[in-house]
C-alpha cells in the first residue's frame, strides 16, 4: 500500500518538476564523477601510502598519522596559532570588505568609483611570494615604516622578528591584500537592492546612516550570512604561502601554523598520507562548524546555506 503511494508521489513530483530535475542532471553528474568518484582517496590518510604501491598495495595503518599529529610536541602550538590567527582574521578581516563595499557604493563620482574598485582588487592577483616580499621590505629596518618612525626620533623596530607584532602583521597584510577582491561580491549584492526602498526611506526623512543600517545591510544580510558560514568551513585552513614567506625562527612560537608544520614534516616519506590525514582533520572541524553555524543561522531566522 505504502509503496504504491510513494511511487505515485514520486511520479507526480517528477511530472511537475521534471524540467527542474533535468537542469540538475549535468551538475549532479559532475559532482558524482569528479568529486565523489575520486573520494576514495581519503583512505590515504589511513595508510602508509606510496604512489608506487598504489592504494591497493599500501599498508593500512589506521589512526597512526592522526596519532602522530595529535601527540606531536608541536601540535598544541600550531593548533593554537592557527586558531588564533584565523579568529583574528575573521573578527577583523571579515567586516572590512563589507565596509569597503558600503563606502564604494556611496561614491557618486563615476571614474573615481571605478578606478578605486579596480585598484583595490589588484593585490589579490599577486602571489604571497611577491606580496610577502613587499611586506618584508616595507617593514625592514630601511623600509617605509621605520623611516617614518625615525623621522619622529624613534629607534627602528624589527617588526617581523617580534613575537608581539607577528600575528598582527599576518592579519593586516592579509586584509590589505584580499579585502578589495572580497568586496566585489558585496557590491554585487548591494546592486541588487531595490532603489524604491531608498526613495521611500528618504521621503520618510531617513539619513544616510539610517539608509545603510535599515535598508542596505538587511538586504544583503543573507549574502553576508552565507559567506560567514562558508568562511567558518575553512577555519583551520590558513594556507601555507603567507606564513611561510613571512615567518622566521624567532616567531615560530606564535606564527607556526598547521599548514607550515605539515609542509615541513611532509617533505619526507609518507608526505601524502600525513598531509592527507591532517587535511582531513582540518576539513572535519570545518564541516562541523558549518553545520553548527548553519543551524544557528536558521534558528535566528536568517536562512542558511540550505
Amino acid at each position: 500500500m505504502k509503496r504504491g503511494v510513494f511511487v505515485k508521489g514520486l511520479e507526480k513530483t517528477l511530472r511537475a518538476d521534471w524540467m527542474l530535475y533535468l537542469f540538475l542532471v549535468p551538475g549532479v553528474a559532475y559532482f558524482i564523477i569528479f568529486k565523489y568518484l575520486p573520494m576514495y582517496g581519503v583512505v590515504i590518510a589511513f595508510q602508509d601510502y606510496s604512489p608506487f604501491l598504489g592504494i591497493s598495495g599500501s599498508e593500512f595503518v589506521g589512526w597512526k598519522h592522526f596519532a602522530r599529529f595529535f601527540t606531536d610536541d608541536e601540535f598544541a602550538t600550531v593548533f593554537r596559532n592557527t586558531l588564533l590567527i584565523s579568529l583574528y582574521k575573521l573578527v577583523f578581516g571579515f567586516p572590512v570588505p563589507i565596509l569597503l563595499a558600503l563606502m564604494l557604493n556611496e561614491v557618486r563620482i563615476g571614474w573615481f568609483k571605478k578606478t578605486t574598485q579596480t585598484l583595490l582588487y589588484i593585490p589579490h592577483f599577486f602571489s604571497w611570494v611577491i606580496f610577502g616580499g613587499i611586506v618584508i621590505q616595507v617593514l625592514s629596518s630601511t623600509g617605509i615604516v621605520n623611516s617614518v618612525l625615525q623621522l619622529f626620533g624613534m629607534e627602528p623596530v624589527l617588526f617581523l622578528a617580534q613575537k608581539e607584532y607577528f600575528r598582527s602583521i599576518i592579519v593586516i597584510s592579509d586584509i590589505v591584500k584580499e579585502s578589495g577582491w572580497a568586496s566585489i561580491i558585496y557590491l554585487a549584492a548591494i546592486a541588487g537592492v531595490d532603489p524604491a526602498l531608498y526613495e521611500a526611506a528618504r521621503m520618510d526623512g531617513a539619513k544616510k546612516r539610517h539608509e545603510i543600517w535599515h535598508i542596505t545591510l538587511p538586504c544583503i544580510s543573507s549574502t553576508i550570512m552565507i559567506l560567514l558560514i562558508l568562511r567558518l568551513g575553512s577555519i583551520l585552513e590558513l594556507g601555507v604561502q603567507q606564513v611561510f614567506m613571512l615567518y622566521n625562527p624567532l616567531v615560530y612560537e606564535v606564527g607556526d601554523i598547521i599548514d607550515t608544520y605539515v609542509y615541513r614534516v611532509g617533505l619526507t616519506e609518507q608526505k601524502y598520507s600525513f598531509a592527507t590525514a591532517v587535511g582531513l582533520f582540518q576539513s572535519v572541524v570545518g564541516l562541523i562548524l558549518i553545520y553548527l553555524a548553519n543551524g544557528l543561522a536558521k534558528r535566528f531566522g536568517k536562512g542558511g546555506l540550505w
Binding site: 511530472r15 608506487f52 610536541d73 618584508i136 624589527l158 624567532l250 614534516v265
Partner: protein, 510 residues
C-alpha cells in the same frame, strides 16, 4: 509518456557528457612520440623524464633539435624525452603521479634534496639496482666520486648514479673589498679576531667615504649555512656530521658549536653583526653587497657574476677579492663543503633497456662529448657558440642563451672541472680560481649516506629546534647556557636514535 521522455533525455545527457569526455581538443600534438612515458619495448629506445621549462627557437623542441640529433647519432640510442615542469617540487609531484598510474619512465633525474624519496622507492622496488652493471662503463664510473655512491646505497645495492654540479663541489667563498682595506690601511684578515676587527672598522670608519654611517660590518641571512665561515672557524658546520673518536657525531651538539654560538652572539651584541639577519632573505642579503653597504661577506663561488658584478657596476672602485675563511681559536677554518653530487639519475625497475641507458650515460660522461653540448659542435660550434680569441675561448652569449636548452640534454658531468667553460663565461670573473678556493676550504659533511629511518622521522623537528635555539642564542633572547638544554632535547627527540644509526653506518663503512 512523460516518464519515457524524461528517461530518454537523461540517457542522452549522460551520453553527451561521456562523448565530451572522449574527444580531445585543440593543439593535441598526438603525432609527437614520447609524450606519455611508459616502459619502452624497443631495445635502443630510452624514455626520459626531466625538468623542463626552457625556451626553444622556432621549430625546435626538446626532442627535435641539433643536439638531440647529434646525440642519437653518436650513441645509437633513441632518446625520447618527456619534458617536465621546471620547478623541482612540481617535477616530483608529477613523478609520483606517474608512479601511481603505472606509467613509469625509464630514466628520471632526482634533485639531491629529494634523496630520501629515491631511497624510499628503492626499498619498495621501484628503482633498478645497478651494482654489478656499472663496472663495464668506465667513463660513467669515472664521473662519480667514490663517496657519492654512499648516498645511493641501500643494503649494499646501488640505486642511482650521482651527478656532479658543473662547479664540482664548490660552494662559498669569503669575499672582501680590497679598496676598503686599503682606504682604512688594514691588512687582509686571517684569524677570526682580525676578521672582527676589520668588520668593525668597516662599520665604524666610513670606508666608502660618504660621511654617512651607512656601512655594515658582518652580514648574514636567515639560512645559517650561508655564513658558515664563522662556524667553520670552530670546526663545526650546522646540520653536518663530524668525525670524533672514531665515530660520527652531529656538529650541532658539540661543545665547539657552543663556543661558536657564544662568539657569534658577542658579535651580535657588539653590533658587528647585522642585527637584521634573522629576517633577511637571500635577495636582500645580496642587495647589501650590490649597493655598496657591505664589504665583507660569504657568497657563492659564482658571486663574481652576480652581486659582486653589480657592486662593480654601481661603483667601479669596488675591488672584491676572495680570501680564505677566518682561522678560529682552535686553528680550524672552513666553509660548508658541498656534497659530491647535485642530482641523481635513477632508472626504473621496469626498464627493459638498461644497457642502452648506461651506454648513453657513459658517452655523456666523456669530457669531449660534454663539450659538444657546452661549446656546440660542427656548424653550431666555433664562430657560432663561441669564438677563439688569442688562444682563449669566448662564448657568444646570444646563442648560448638562445640554445640554452641544450644543457638540459647533458645528464652527466665529468669529474674534471670544465675550466674552459668557466673561462669562457668571462675570464675577468676568475671562476676557476673561485671554485678551487671554495673546494680547498670546504668542510664536507662526514655523513654521506642516505637518510636513515630515524632521520626521516625526526630530522625536520630537530632542524627546526636547532634553528630556533641557535637564532635565539645569537640574538641574545636565550643565554648561551640554553645550549645544554638544547643538546638534551635534541637527544631526546630522536637525536639519540639517529646517532646510533649513523654510528652503525659509519662502522660498517670502515
Amino acid at each position: 509518456m512523460k516518464k519515457r521522455t524524461l528517461i530518454s533525455i537523461l540517457l542522452t545527457a549522460v551520453l553527451a557528457v561521456s562523448a565530451l569526455a572522449g574527444c580531445s581538443s585543440k593543439g593535441g600534438d598526438k603525432a609527437e612520440n614520447g609524450k606519455n612515458a611508459s616502459p619502452s619495448s624497443d631495445q635502443t629506445t630510452v624514455k626520459a623524464f626531466i625538468m623542463g621549462g626552457a625556451t626553444f627557437p622556432d621549430g625546435e623542441d626538446i626532442n627535435h633539435n641539433p643536439w638531440m640529433t647529434m646525440l642519437r647519432e653518436e650513441t645509437g640510442v633513441d632518446l625520447q624525452i618527456q619534458y617536465g615542469p621546471a620547478a623541482a617540487d612540481e617535477y616530483m609531484n608529477k613523478l609520483n603521479l606517474m608512479l601511481a598510474s603505472g606509467d613509469i619512465p625509464d630514466l628520471f633525474i632526482i634533485p639531491s634534496a629529494n634523496q630520501s624519496w629515491l631511497m624510499d622507492n628503492a626499498k619498495l622496488g621501484a628503482i633498478m639496482r645497478l651494482d654489478g652493471k656499472l663496472d663495464a662503463y668506465a667513463n660513467l664510473m669515472n664521473a662519480v666520486y667514490p663517496e657519492a655512491w654512499d648516498a645511493v646505497t641501500y643494503n649494499g645495492g646501488i640505486y642511482g648514479v650521482p651527478v656532479l654540479a658543473d662547479g664540482n663541489s664548490a660552494t662559498d667563498n669569503v669575499y672582501i673589498r680590497k679598496d676598503w682595506l686599503d682606504k682604512l690601511k688594514l691588512d687582509v684578515p686571517k684569524t677570526l679576531d682580525e676578521f672582527v676587527k676589520v668588520a668593525k672598522a668597516f662599520k665604524e670608519q666610513d670606508p666608502d667615504g660618504n660621511g654617512k654611517a651607512d656601512t655594515l660590518g658582518l652580514i648574514a641571512y636567515d639560512n645559517m649555512l650561508a655564513w658558515s665561515s664563522l662556524f667553520g672557524a670552530f670546526g663545526v658546520i650546522p646540520g653536518y656530521w663530524v668525525e670524533k673518536n672514531g665515530t660520527l657525531v652531529p656538529a650541532d651538539i658539540q661543545p665547539e658549536m657552543k663556543d661558536a654560538l657564544a662568539y657569534i652572539h658577542q658579535l651580535f651584541a657588539d653590533k658587528v653583526l647585522d642585527n637584521e639577519w634573522p629576517i633577511t632573505k637571500k635577495a636582500a642579503y645580496e642587495e647589501k653587497v650590490a649597493n655598496g653597504k657591505a664589504g665583507l661577506y660569504e657568497g657563492s663561488w659564482a658571486a663574481a657574476r652576480s652581486e659582486i658584478q653589480t657592486s662593480r657596476q654601481n661603483d667601479p672602485k669596488a675591488d672584491w677579492i676572495a680570501i680564505a675563511p677566518p682561522v678560529g681559536p682552535g686553528g680550524k677554518q672552513g666553509v660548508f663543503g658541498g656534497p659530491k653530487y647535485k642530482s641523481i639519475i635513477a632508472i626504473s625497475s621496469k626498464a627493459k633497456n638498461v644497457d642502452a641507458i648506461l651506454k648513453l650515460l657513459d658517452w655523456q660522461a666523456v669530457p669531449e662529448n660534454r663539450d659538444k653540448f657546452v661549446f656546440g659542435f660542427g656548424q653550431y660550434g666555433e664562430n657560432f657558440m663561441y669564438t677563439k680569441k688569442d688562444g682563449s675561448i669566448e662564448l657568444n652569449f646570444d646563442n648560448h642563451n638562445k640554445y640554452g636548452y641544450r644543457q638540459q640534454l647533458m645528464f652527466m658531468q665529468p669529474k674534471e672541472l670544465n675550466e674552459q667553460k668557466m673561462e669562457a663565461l668571462g675570464p675577468q670573473f676568475k671562476l676557476n680560481d673561485m671554485i678551487k678556493l671554495s673546494i680547498q676550504y670546504g668542510i664536507p659533511n662526514a655523513f654521506t649516506g642516505a637518510p636513515t629511518p630515524s632521520m626521516v622521522e625526526n630530522q625536520s623537528a630537530l632542524d627546526k629546534l636547532r634553528q630556533e635555539t641557535f637564532t635565539k642564542i645569537i640574538i641574545g633572547e636565550l643565554p648561551v647556557s640554553a645550549f645544554d638544554d638544547f643538546v638534551a632535547s635534541y637527544k631526546a627527540k630522536g637525536g639519540d636514535k639517529i646517532m646510533k644509526e649513523v654510528a652503525d653506518w659509519y662502522a660498517e663503512k670502515k
